[in-house]
Subunit: 410 residues, 2 copies
Amino acid sequence: MTTFWDNRFAQRTQLMKGSAIRELLKFVEDPEVISFAGGMPAPDAFPIKEFTDACNRVLKTQSSQALQYGSTDGYLPLREMIAQQSKRYGIEVTPENILITSGSQQALDLLGKIFINPGDHIVVENPTYVGALQALNAYGAEYIPVPTDEEGMVTSELEKSLRSSPKFIYVLPNFQNPTGVTLSFERRLQLIELSEKYGVPIIEDDPYGQLRFEGDNLPPIEVLDSQTRAQGGCYSGNVIYTSTFSKTLSPGIRLAWVIAPPEVIHKLVLAKQGTDLHTATFNQMIAYEVGKNGFINEHVKYIRKIYKERRDVMLDTLEEHMPEGVKWTHPEGGLFLWMTLPECIDSRELLTEALKFKVAFVPGCSFFADGSHPNTMRLNFSYASPDLINEGIGRLAKAIKQFIAKDKKA
Amino acid sequence: MTTFWDNRFAQRTQLMKGSAIRELLKFVEDPEVISFAGGMPAPDAFPIKEFTDACNRVLKTQSSQALQYGSTDGYLPLREMIAQQSKRYGIEVTPENILITSGSQQALDLLGKIFINPGDHIVVENPTYVGALQALNAYGAEYIPVPTDEEGMVTSELEKSLRSSPKFIYVLPNFQNPTGVTLSFERRLQLIELSEKYGVPIIEDDPYGQLRFEGDNLPPIEVLDSQTRAQGGCYSGNVIYTSTFSKTLSPGIRLAWVIAPPEVIHKLVLAKQGTDLHTATFNQMIAYEVGKNGFINEHVKYIRKIYKERRDVMLDTLEEHMPEGVKWTHPEGGLFLWMTLPECIDSRELLTEALKFKVAFVPGCSFFADGSHPNTMRLNFSYASPDLINEGIGRLAKAIKQFIAKDKKA
């Protein structure tokens, strides 16, 4: 039956799909389910005291500004702080290169809004962040998926995808969501070389870069790109970089940022004006108060410690419990690892089984722009405590074994 | 010179224009300028103590939830509170009819996203809220402006615009931005009748409805529409209602809501997922804590008192200082009044003159979808103190008189 509204919705709504992850959240509400599904930070790592102090300070001394409308580009001291902190990773920018957004998701939405005409091609890692697909789908993006392996996007397979003049290359270089893998140094260089050769901009989405547990930090693509260009004597970056406070302070305050050339920032500001005027002034001032004296760098050390322990527990219990034929990545940081099951298993069907065992994960195919690889899944190790990870992986292994046994019988 | 980026931006970016109001904000930074330009609430009416208490309570007892990711539709207790408070205005809804948005601007953006195909016609009041034009422009909306007078949209002129099958009618019924006028009861009924006859939905944008200083509240269009339908024995509202906490609590927390049939809310939720995942959990919980015990209704009485005084001062000083040929509206609530100058005056040119006298306003033509009526302007009376309003209107009158004198000479 067609209702009053059905034929009034815009065509683009047919391209909008709900996130499997967010739909899974309803199962997670069952307190007995151990969830490896979300991408949620550990709540025990939220800096509650610092937030409380910051709220009190801001409301006591700057309430007229904090509770009032603000500028679309963002609170200047916060942008200055981000510029300052970016230097630690070699990113040399001024506040005019920075736009504050309401979470990274909004950064992706605004980038879609200013760049994508319906039918434009976007190069993505296969698999890639499902939220990026959701954001860009609404603008009619079409995807050219490039395979990934343990070193990230297989850049030797990239060149042919650039010949169709894609609008940009979207890449998560560090502890990628969903696979947990990191783009190697050599491939970063090759990515930049190809991006330059074909004149295709790169969007570098880096929510997890600061959460490295071991090994050396790799330079951001933005930095390598600038260095290459500086040697050529002509600086004009074509990398747009985005990061967030969601994984270092709190996702519930919805604060992230985009770093880009001023002319791109200008267009993003125009788009953001029409989209939500500006990001909450209050939240921006709180984040600045919490972060201004170098607190974030100290706090991140604590988060790394917690997450490393949880990753280790997950890797150990996977090793202990998983049946033959199941493989997984060994991320050096971030929040996720990626599991590949025997090809006969569809992880969506497995999820139904796993929920009976009171354990949840995200089936992998949502992360593939082409919907392939049903035998994969994403496991989050940041949210559940080590004990629960231990218990949950045990349950998951039982579910998988039972599923395989049933499959053999059938 | 064409840069690397120029030919990479999407076509829709050509439709995005900066808001004259936000560009004016830079003048307002000059502390000597008395600004009637913004739409800013009085900072002395921000409930600082209540915010401080709420922050402390939420962070003390619910930090794990407040700083974490939340659901896209919004914090359930806040939606319950809004449903409860809407009853006061006769709006009977449950939380499933409510979506929390990051300010009303986001509500407009999401409505554009789910409804507008490029080239779709939207019926708007002439003049209308410039932020709505900005939000909808990005989706390729085209406008059918309907004239307004002291009773709001001239509904007798509406019918012909409905024959071209517009996507919806966008209307601000109470103390409209920019004119300050209120849609009369008779016209509300006529609007609904025509909307029903032609099957065109109405978007009722009501940020100021609670800020009535005198006279009786008029029923929301949503309520009148439901009553009409209920009499016909078949409830299926085709009014989408939106309001905000920006004018009753604080605009700096960016919190608003949409009330709509569940199938529209469902599409809005899908769109919001891709746009910014969800509105800051922290802010939603703070607003709930501040508002849960009926505080908002009490606080609004205080705001009304302040704004009524300021409106009165503005009306009195306008009466006292303005030269012949200048007219203005007499709003019974809200934040704005509307001034019409002799036809020979272009208020954009007048603004240059006025800024020399250190007073600012918004030239009226930005609010007209067809860019007409250069001899109009919007004056805000909520932000400046009564003394400054007195002084500022004096300055503005001098600027106008000087402008007219020059004009006569030329």
